[in-house]
Symmetry: C3
Subunit: 326 residues, 3 copies
């Protein structure tokens, strides 16, 4: 008999979107205002002797129009496709899984994994297909294919992952992605960070980036109960979008944020600033919103965002949506 | 823990198909003789205070060859991809859902949602890729993306939906699909109808149709127990398939049908006639069949259909199949 | 309520692959070292009177990078997409299902359904996209679309399937795939075999192969408990990869194998030799490995393979992986 769990998150919003560099405003029903919508299957099996086997197959979806994946040509199970063995030694995992950059970025900003309204996530992970030509500062997606990943056990609140993505290029030429991240959960305190050294693109099978791009971030948050401040700082080698992909810029990203319980929900605010030194360009994005819990699994939210990039028209966006977990 | 329901319909038949305008006959094992095969996930959550959250993710499939979608480039969850909030006020839904034309058409003809053998559905929703160049009279698919839809509560058997599809074209130029439908279930009587004003194509993200196309239908059925007659009449702006898509014809479609219990099943018959005034062309399709219930969830069917279009070779098709719901 | 079962197999390995004809070696995390990874839905319904309805929708996946299907342009449910009726008479099935060649090949070699390490499966079903230009000797995939298949009841350990794939080409020109297979399970003895006459390609809707290609195999295994020997012999019309697809070679494939329980697992070895008479070319592949059971549902494995083709560089591959069934 099957022991698999079917789960996911369906998130859709009505909004009006204008990013920095956009020529105009667009009224939309869109997917994933707070969390990129997904569904999938996962399971674990107790093998005895403290050993466990596990798997995950999860898929991103656009619930506004029913399209599979986050963008054209995304793979079907680009969120997770892996098998693992766990024990006292930790966990060894094979397949596609989160990249080192993903969870630290999500946990250390108050708007979490929103690829629409979180300033930090927008700067790091979402290219803009408009006049600004903004490139995600993180080189190799929020998930890595062809990984072998080792996760430590929990040492009094401290955990870490060490991750290696095979380039799988012919002739064993040594091209790869490597990285690590860590998390310290000490009561009200969170400290987290990651480092990545990227040579291989994602998703799917990946190809050589044409160069090596470093990327790191440190982040922290402290829950004072009435208010929870967030802080991140990181640097990255940013592709300027030239064909050769070898002309790299240096990016510095600072993010400060805060969440505060108000009523049955939370007021959220986050500000991110990215400075690209070579191209003398910076981006400043501020989001303020309210997330109201209808239940443990379902919330409604309203967000307003202002987005600015040097020498581009700035833009203001807003959205009102529902997020339902199952 | 997950509260999701996994359900679907698997329908396949052995048949021989020749539509009006086809050059020849084709022996086939095909999918969806009575219902387009699908599978999917759905769920609801009680939020307290009379409120409910719900979602649906459902996908069309071709079970004869395992292909996803109804046709090439259909999206993965083109049947449903939405999230909703329900209460005493009715239901508000965001995402991809049925178009206004779909349920009224299905309920007011005896062969239901068969995209293979229902004359009404064939005329309205299935283009022919043969010499006839037949275009579906309904402009924008049986499902709409990027919707916000409001469904009324049930008022003594009366229900209605008001639906709006955002065009999501840059610059907020106001292009959209709007429509509504209603249903009255009064004991043995069904009365239903819809109106659509279409500017945006479907499925997927959609593009501007290049013009505005109106489409409406009224339908009724009355269950005398020993026999149930069906009637529909509607009009639509029909695209003649010209590149510019602005040269519209006026279509009128009349359908009469009947179902009658015989043994453990039902004899079904439906005749649809569509008249295209400008192109002096009409299509006349008659289907007669028997649908036998093997259980509440599984039936077997046999259908014969004759299809005729002005100035085209006419065609006769038949099929014997199994439909299984899970 | 739904009665569907969600099941699958997730198999991933770390390895180094060099097939005969490859220019170099490749270090990989890959999917499906022992079983091509898949997931899917299936169910049966008791209709009373000894009748049962059933369906299966199953999908191949690449868990190393999350890609859907076995190869580019594979269909979503290429493993199974069918509906069936069963009773005392046997089973009638409509849709996509295994081809006649698949199960006999899998059961009569000790490395089963491994498309990476089973020499027999590699020769018969896996083309090489390298200098060798190796073509799968079996013409029409391991699954057939558009099938009607009849499965006999079990006669004292003997079962057979008769299978017909409609070509679905216009004008009813009679192009089709036909085939049959049988299985005799008599205590420790297995005898199996198949015959196929192929005119239609797979997967998906299929097209005419341009010629008729015959393919057959006989196989046996006997379980002496301390050791289980395997033997297969078969012949096939092999496409030499010319554009016209009419220049066929004659292939003969012999496979001998053995499995033996050692500890909580089994030592496995299999050797396959295919001789192509017209092109004076043969391929010899030997795999030796160990498959260790972590539980009934989960195993770990290590395989080494040597692969040789006339006039090509030979290659040695190895892999260590985990297979988890759910």
């Amino acid at each position: 008999q099957s022991s698999v769990t079917l789960s996911g998150t369906i998130d859709a919003y009505a909004g009006s979107i204008r990013m920095a560099g956009d020529a105009g405003r667009k009224s939309v029903i869109n997917s994933g205002g707070m969390t990129t919508s997904w569904f999938g299957f996962s399971g674990t099996e107790d093998l005895g002797g403290g050993l466990k086997a596990g798997f995950a197959l999860t898929s991103f979806i656009q619930v506004d129009n029913g399209t599979q994946g986050r963008f054209p040509n995304d793979t079907f199970f680009s969120r997770d496709a892996n098998v693992s063995l766990s024990g006292g030694f930790g966990t060894v995992r094979l397949g596609r899984w989160m990249a080192p950059n993903f969870l630290p970025s999500v946990l250390a900003n108050p708007i979490g994994d929103s690829f629409v309204f979180s300033p930090l996530i927008l700067h790091k992970n979402v290219p803009l297909f408009n006049a600004s030509g903004w490139q995600a500062t993180t080189a190799a997606d929020t998930g890595w294919s062809n990984q072998i990943a080792y996760s430590t056990p929990d040492f009094g609140g401290f955990k870490a992952n060490i991750q290696y993505q095979f380039g799988e290029l012919p002739g064993d030429n040594g091209k790869k992605n490597v990285g690590a991240n860590f998390f310290y959960f000490g009561g009200p305190l969170l400290v987290t960070g990651y480092y990545e050294r990227n040579q291989i693109s994602n998703p799917g099978q990946g190809t050589y980036l044409g160069t090596t791009r470093d990327d790191w971030m440190l982040g922290a948050a402290y829950d004072f109960k009435f208010v929870k401040p967030y802080l991140t700082y990181g640097r990255s080698d940013v592709n300027l979008g030239t064909a050769a992909m070898v002309n790299l810029d240096k990016g510095k990203t600072l993010q400060v944020g805060v969440s505060a319980p108000v009523g049955a929900g939370k007021v959220l605010a986050s500000y991110a600033m990215t400075d690209l030194s070579r191209s003398d360009l910076d981006r400043k994005t501020l989001t303020v919103g309210y997330d109201y819990n209808l239940s443990k699994r379902t919330d409604a939210y309203a967000m307003v965002m202002h987005d600015r990039i040097t020498r581009q028209d700035s833009g203001t966006s807003f959205g009102v949506g529902i997020r339902h977990r199952f």
